[in-house]
Assembly symmetry: C3
Homo-oligomer: 222 residues x 3
């Protein structure tokens, strides 16, 4: 059993919120939003997945709107993006291609961290609230992909989860690991972090391979 | 009264989920998503309307994420689209116009089936959970149009419900039929299927007329 | 304390629903939707923010789908837009630039009214349902920006809240005023209308300044 499930879930949530919020802010910079738009997008991306999770589990008001530590985390992430905003804008003026490439890469890796942490945190919370095992897995996946999907829809892009082969699958494996471990009564802090590492490893491997062999691994498309 | 409301609602839900999931998968093929994107879009389209319904009625976790039969149905629909994917891709390579036309038609008819079934199933569930009559009608309509709207927004299109004259209106009539019949205490299995047939008939008539007289029936636009 | 909180909240809600519904209908006209699409978009814009608020607070079914006065208000707004539709279409045929300018201005001011009213009404309802202070503020902001964001996403635009500097901030101040007044036990009808006036004044000032000095006030963008 988990020795400190509440603390552990809080830690997972805060890491995921921070990573997703930064990714949202950077997508906002790339979409040429102004400072306020960047901050609002950071907010929606960081807290969207957790709010969706809590609505699905009936835990209202969602912690994403009522827990001060969550709001402070997303504000700090917003401030971090705002602080780096002039640097990125300046970089963009001189070398536009570099800017888009750097931001695109940073968004992918931060998104991977959020995906890993939220798939596990979402499944954990569903387990603790007594949801059926299947629901726990689905809630984990939706928590993980929700924030990024909201971010992409808001700036008029097709969400990453529809465009990347290995995006939802790692989240599915991460959430399933936690749920299966709970059923087998072997859920521990080590299993939780192992599941996070599994998702992160798979997703980052996919990002790296996609970068180096851009066409080979793609499935046949139209 | 309904002799077997639970079985009847399950049957309606499964038909609607399957039809919408196939339509979502086909829209994904048309939007040139890869295999995984197609499967995820099938999932979101098939289960989105029902999840929205359950959130509105406070029935959490929604059956769309906790009921194994629903998940299996959407997986089967996803597999069906994936099986037909190479055929459609191949068709698209040789005759792109034919591909788009065939997929577009299939999506419209499947969407009509989902619309018909979900408008009635949504209103029925709201009635059984004791929602006020007006809420039952609105929930029915939102269940019916929700999955398709989510599908269209995710691939960056303006939802069908905003672009087609006779889209929300049949769903409104279908949901209202069930709710009025319930108030008059004449709700039966025959009424339920009659309401489904009414919506389907109206929607298909609209699709066929729109195809044959493409400009005549349109209202004045800018 | 408020002498008649229920009546006051009803009045605020009805004003907000009407203003947002008209703005939604006008955006639909500008996006060249047909009559039905215009009506559906009016509906989604007018009721979307309140439905989101009620889902976040667990007050289901949301009043936006069950309260007849709300539905009637949105229907009246829809009828108003439909009545003015031919006039606007005719205007657009003869002077397209004028049409877009006039509609764009009307949408902004109506949106400002909805923003002001819903930020206060959302926070009030959250207070009455006993949500924590922070959640009350966030619910107020989300109620205020939700309908407009749904409207913009449905027609494929980046939501106003991401594109305008002074959009979310007035809503934040309005909701905060009500929550702080409640904590200080000085919440009155005068404070409520004062908060509405504050949001409206700030937002309209921003609209007017933006129009007159279109480039000066902008933050550096890429």
């Amino acid at each position: 059993m988990l020795t400190a499930p509440a603390d552990l879930r809080l830690a997972l949530d805060l890491v995921g919120i921070f990573a997703f919020a930064i990714s949202g802010g950077l997508v906002g910079v790339r979409a040429r939003l102004d400072l306020f738009g960047v901050a609002v997008l950071a907010w929606a991306t960081g807290l969207g997945g957790g709010i969706l999770r809590d609505l699905l589990l009936g835990d209202v008001p969602p912690v994403g709107i009522s827990e001060p530590r969550y709001i402070i985390t997303v504000l700090l992430a917003g401030l971090a993006v705002v602080a780096v905003y002039p640097v990125v804008v300046d970089l963009g003026r001189r070398r536009p291609r570099l800017r888009l490439g750097v931001i695109g890469q940073a968004v992918k890796y931060l998104d991977a961290v959020g995906l890993a942490v939220f798939s596990v945190a979402g499944a954990l919370k569903a387990l603790i609230l007594g949801a059926p095992p299947l629901a726990c897995i689905v809630v984990g996946v939706l928590t993980a992909v929700g924030g990024g999907a909201i971010r992409d829809v808001l700036v008029g892009q097709v969400p990453e989860v529809l465009r990347r082969e290995v995006y939802a699958v790692p989240a599915l494996l991460g959430a399933s690991t936690v749920v299966v471990a709970s059923r087998l009564e072997v859920l521990s802090v080590a299993v939780v972090w192992g599941a996070v590492a599994l998702v992160l490893g798979l997703r980052i491997t996919a990002i790296v391979l996609d970068l180096q062999v851009p066409t080979r691994l793609h499935l046949p498309t139209l």
